[in-house]
């Protein structure tokens, strides 16, 4: 018979702080364990592309970074919504802990996309539908973080940025399809990337491994950041002084 764990216990910052501390090394190690074979597959196992040569190897970080940028926004908005509806402090802290990492992956997707685009399309930037929506996603992240940073009172900051994140979620599909339509209407200036109809299994494995590595990294970093947020917001609480003590003794 499975032992019943009361997960709600960990929804309080006080209980979550030490748990997060214990989980961080595990996710960090997992990130490393996925990165090493991921890089091995990306550079040594996956064959050169018959059209793009070696340049296509950028895909192994570009595509996972783009996945992460979108997925983190969804998770962030989910946490923000939970914080708004259930009024749980930890959820909104998780939302704000995820935002900088999500913005970073969005930037990386743009950066690597640009470096991939230059040799393939002949230009650092093209107004491709995917590139453009990724740029707008970066703006949404920046808006979320700026609003959160501009409001001094943490509770109001969390709730206001949660509303913004949810409005963003409603808008993301609309923005994506508008940009896509806009792009197809202006066919002349756009070139679509041809990835080739078939993808070799080793390429697919490399991409999945790198995506898993990014995912584990994101969890580890978000937990690190949420611990800082917890300490900052709860610095006047009794338990923070208690937590400080044993961690120092070690």
């Amino acid at each position: 018979m499975a032992k019943k764990i009361n997960w709600f216990k960990y929804s309080s910052p006080q209980a979550f702080y030490p748990l997060a501390g214990k989980m961080i090394p595990w996710f960090a190690v997992a990130a490393l364990l996925f990165t090493l074979p991921g890089l091995y597959f990306s550079f040594f196992v996956a064959p050169a592309d018959y059209q793009q040569g070696e340049a296509y190897r950028i895909m192994f970080i570009h595509v996972p970074a783009a996945w992460m940028s979108m997925f983190i926004y969804m998770v962030m908005a989910g946490y923000a919504g939970m914080g708004l509806v259930l009024n749980s402090r930890l959820s909104s802290m998780m939302a704000s802990a995820l935002a900088p990492t999500g913005a970073m992956f969005t930037f990386l997707a743009l950066w690597t996309g640009s470096l991939w685009g230059k040799p393939m399309w002949g230009a650092w930037w093209v107004w491709d539908a995917r590139l453009t929506s990724e740029l707008i996603l970066l703006f949404l992240y920046i808006g979320f973080m700026s609003l959160y940073a501009a409001i001094d009172e943490p509770r109001r900051a969390a709730r206001a940025s949660a509303v913004l994140a949810l409005v963003g979620v409603v808008n993301i599909p609309i923005i994506y399809f508008s940009v896509k339509w806009w792009n197809t209407l202006h066919q002349g200036s756009s070139i679509t990337a041809s990835k080739g109809p078939t993808m070799e299994a080793s390429m697919f494995i490399a991409m999945i491994l790198m995506a898993m590595a990014f995912w584990m990294y994101t969890i580890a970093v978000a937990l690190m950041r949420v611990r800082c947020e917890i300490l900052e917001r709860e610095r006047h609480a009794e338990w923070v002084a208690e937590v400080l003590r044993p961690s120092r003794a070690r």
Binding site: I136, F139, L140, I142, G143, S146, L147, A150, I151, R155, R156, R159, A160, V163, L164, L166, V167, G168, V170, N171, I174, I175, S178, V179, W181, W182, L185
Partner: protein, 225 residues
């Protein structure tokens, strides 16, 4: 039901009266729009063929910026003198009151843009039907801008640096309106017909009418806590 429409009408009448007492504010937005649109030929060059191509985009971007600049006025004076706090306490549902305020705000800051846009289109040598579609797309699109903007204005109420911040929050959300607004004029000039674009703008308007007042009231309650 009648009390709802009464509340709505009351808010609209009050806000318009207040806005007409400070006519300079209304004119500032309008002149900003006119000046921005008139600057582009000076930067791009006077070739009529180029101007005709960029006209829809220029007018629409200028409309976006102008309606964004006006957002600060939507709730701020009511927030400062305490009226907003009273509104939150009234028995009428807040989204209806917000809708009234947004409508009044659009009448004084959005509608003038719609009316003057054909005149600016003439500067860019747009054909008559292009002018008509430009005004029509602005007529359907600028209320969406005001509705989405209301959320941003409510979120940044009383926040330091709120004016710049609101542009960061709101401009990315304006993008679909920009695409289909400018696209409508483009399509009509290239002979494709603007029907699809205008219908989609109408769909945005309906969606925004349903969702935005609700989100803006949630934001107002958070800001007033």
């Amino acid at each position: 039901m009648t009390s709802l429409t009464a509340a709505f009408r009351c808010i609209v009448a009050r806000d318009i009266t207040l806005a007409l007492r400070r006519r300079a504010d209304v004119l500032t937005t309008l002149f900003f729009f006119v000046i921005v649109v008139s600057l582009f030929p000076l930067g791009v060059g006077p070739e009529m063929a180029t101007l005709r191509i960029i006209a829809p985009g220029v007018v629409w971007v200028a409309a976006l910026l102008a309606s964004m600049l006006a957002l600060e006025r939507m709730f701020y004076s009511d927030y400062r003198d305490g009226t907003l706090e009273q509104m939150l306490l009234t028995p009428q549902p807040l989204p209806v009151l917000v809708l009234g305020k947004v409508f009044a705000h659009w009448l004084v800051s959005g509608l003038p843009l719609v009316l003057i846009a054909p005149l600016l289109g003439v500067q860019y040598d747009l054909p008559p039907e292009g002018l008509l579609i430009l005004a029509l797309s602005l007529l359907v699109g600028t209320p969406v801008l005001s509705l989405i903007g209301a959320i941003g204005a409510a979120l940044t109420l009383g926040v330091r640096g709120g004016g710049v911040l609101v542009s960061l929050l709101v401009l990315p959300l304006y993008i679909p309106v920009l695409i289909f607004g400018a696209g409508a004029v483009d399509a009509s000039m290239s002979g494709l017909g603007a029907q699809a674009h205008l219908s989609l703008l109408g769909a945005f308007l309906l969606g925004a009418l349903i969702l935005a007042p609700w989100a803006a009231s949630a934001a107002l309650r958070i800001s007033m806590e």
